[in-house]
């Protein structure tokens, strides 16, 4: 965890369920180096959004981060911070943008005011200077007629513009780590392309690290340096982009990549992952993917698979992979 911007170790988030508490995020560990983009990929219900919320300590009751979890940001223990310190960290150290910008913007305030408010919360600037800064940031994120748009209300803006406003609000504080939770899922594909390009530019310019949460492997391919695939609250596979997308070893990653209809492959049947994701609380013991895995064999049902290192950067938690690895 040294030299890393963000280090997460054994993070477990539980929610109450029938007969005790059930983990939504189950002992995951990951790191993000300064200036790098780590994509956290998975389908709905795998716990990726919860992970992001946990890092910012935004898990609402009755959810709970279990003791034994460790989150270290720039060398400080995030879970041990006081409320005021945490508030200072959010926004300035770690910022977050969400999938639905409409839900994150105040509908009764102009977008300009919201950006200015965010600016003045973290810096001492006069109103006029803040307005200039806001217009400059709007221009930087590609909003046409930036000064005019400062006085627009969120409902007057399109989805793409709203997301740019969210990015502007985040930019104002120059965070070292940006957590982007499905930032382009709600956008049209042409707008998505624009936003992805914008994010990549900003990320390079500010040398900002990004924890990108998504279910879209195409977006992963566009932005990510490293990838972590989640299933059932656990990390199934982790590695560089080339390793995970080019040579996936975990059966879930393999199945997922093969079931994506892409422009390249036409006709025939798509490969399926049989079965459905078990609902919360009815996760199988042992490997979570056991009920749907084409390579399931004896130990999968009872034993939780250990993480196997396939290279210095590439890890997978799978009994089948472990069996194939020469000791």
């Amino acid at each position: 965890m040294n030299g890393q911007l963000l280090g997460v170790e054994d993070l477990t988030v539980t929610f109450p369920a029938r007969g005790g508490r059930t983990p939504v995020v189950d002992g995951i560990s990951l790191t993000v180096a300064p200036g790098e983009v780590l994509a956290l990929v998975g389908e709905s219900g795998c716990g990726k959004s919860m992970t992001a919320l946990a890092i910012l300590r935004l898990i609402a009751k009755p959810g709970r981060i279990e003791p034994g979890s460790r989150i270290v940001f720039e060398g400080r223990e995030v879970l041990g911070l006081k409320v005021t310190q945490m508030r200072a960290l959010r926004g300035a150290g770690i910022a977050m943008i969400f999938q639905e910008p409409m839900a994150s913007l105040n509908p009764v305030q102009t977008v300009g005011n919201q950006v200015i408010e965010a600016l003045r919360l973290h810096e001492r600037v006069g109103r006029a200077a803040a307005r200039d800064r806001a217009a400059a940031i709007f221009e930087r994120v590609g909003i046409p007629d930036p000064r005019g748009r400062l006085d627009a209300y969120p409902h007057q803006l399109s989805g793409g513009l709203k997301q740019r406003v969210m990015i502007a609000m985040m930019l104002v504080m120059r965070p070292r780590l940006l957590i982007a939770d499905e930032p382009t899922t709600a956008l049209d594909v042409t707008v998505q392309a624009q936003i992805l390009a914008l994010l990549r530019e900003l990320q390079n310019e500010l040398d900002m690290a990004v924890l990108l949460i998504t279910h879209d492997f195409g977006v992963v391919n566009e932005l990510a340096d490293r990838v972590a695939v989640m299933y059932g609250g656990r990390i199934a596979e982790q590695g560089t982009r080339a390793e995970v997308l080019g040579a996936p070893r975990h059966p879930y990653t393999q199945g997922l990549l093969r079931s994506i209809p892409s422009l390249a492959h036409r006709g025939g049947d798509l490969e399926e992952i049989k079965g459905t994701v078990p609902s919360l609380g009815s996760w199988p013991a042992g490997c979570r993917f056991a009920t749907r895995c084409p390579k399931v064999f004896e130990p999968c049902d009872g034993q939780v698979p250990q993480t196997v290192s396939l290279s210095e950067t590439h890890h997978a938690a799978c009994h089948d992979v472990a069996r194939d690895q020469p000791e």
């Binding site: 389908e43 624009q194 492959h265």
Partner: protein
Amino acid sequence: MNTTAPNAASPSAASKPLLKVEGLKTWFPVRSGVLQRVDRWIRAVDGVDLDIPQGQTLALVGESGCGKTTVGRSILRLEHARAGRVLYKDTDLLALSRAAMRPYRQAIQIVFQDPTSSLDPRMTVRDAIAEGLRSFNICASTAERTERVAELMTMVRLDPDHMWRYPHEFSGGQKQRICIARALAVEPKLLICDESVSALDVSIQAQILNLLGELQKKLGLTYLFITHDLGVVGHIADRVAVMYLGQIVETGDVSEIFETPKHPYTKALLGSVPRLDLDQRGSLASAPGDPPDPANPPPGCRFHTRCPEVFAPCAETPPALIEADGRLCRCHLYDSAINR
């Protein structure tokens, strides 16, 4: 880029169109003022022509606000079309009275995007699937209906023992299967899939797409597949029609259009889909700006404000749908009369 002779417009002349849409226009009024006068019209569908050949899948692609969902709903008369014809086997559905339309409803069915709001939370799955059976008196008794529901559930790979459960006890993918079973209960010839897999996870999406493909072969169905996901289009469609702001801008065979798109919007659309190829990164094309307001479309060609290949006539004259190399394209670049 010459126009070819105007015959054999549809490449597979062997397949007669099951459904033909001609000049469909669906406009929504925007009222304002104390007297609620109609101020402007939102031209959601503004002159759309479609040809859906029997036994094939036509994909209708476009981004949000282009009107593709409204096309599907107008065909079924769930929205009121202002003009145009919808010819199902030579009968204009839009000209029929509501009562005369009813039997045709058995022939064309729809599966919606959100599986959760597509099912009445207070109805058992069995009652939901049997709704069409009751409506058209397909089965003679309750027992017969139950049996037919069991058959349908097996066909969509669901356990018939679960028919007495309620929708909230199923996952998204399973609910979508229930919706498909409900639509198939009345034995339609044409199934309109309105973003039917967009709300599902990728792995579940694959299951449903495979199921739809299987059902098409088995039951000889024809699909109108409305979607924004080009990957899905590439996978299951035979022909594709690209929509922008209420109009069709390009239509033709899927493989041809994907390999050599002609219309600049189609190029932008195809170019902006992130690929899975490790080498293709950072090369996303796009169209600058946002889609304009459907209540106030730009003059001339509707795409000209965002078009990278815009030239003189684009801002003045709206282009017509012209034949170019075996497909239809709405762009001045391919109109030899304008583009010399």
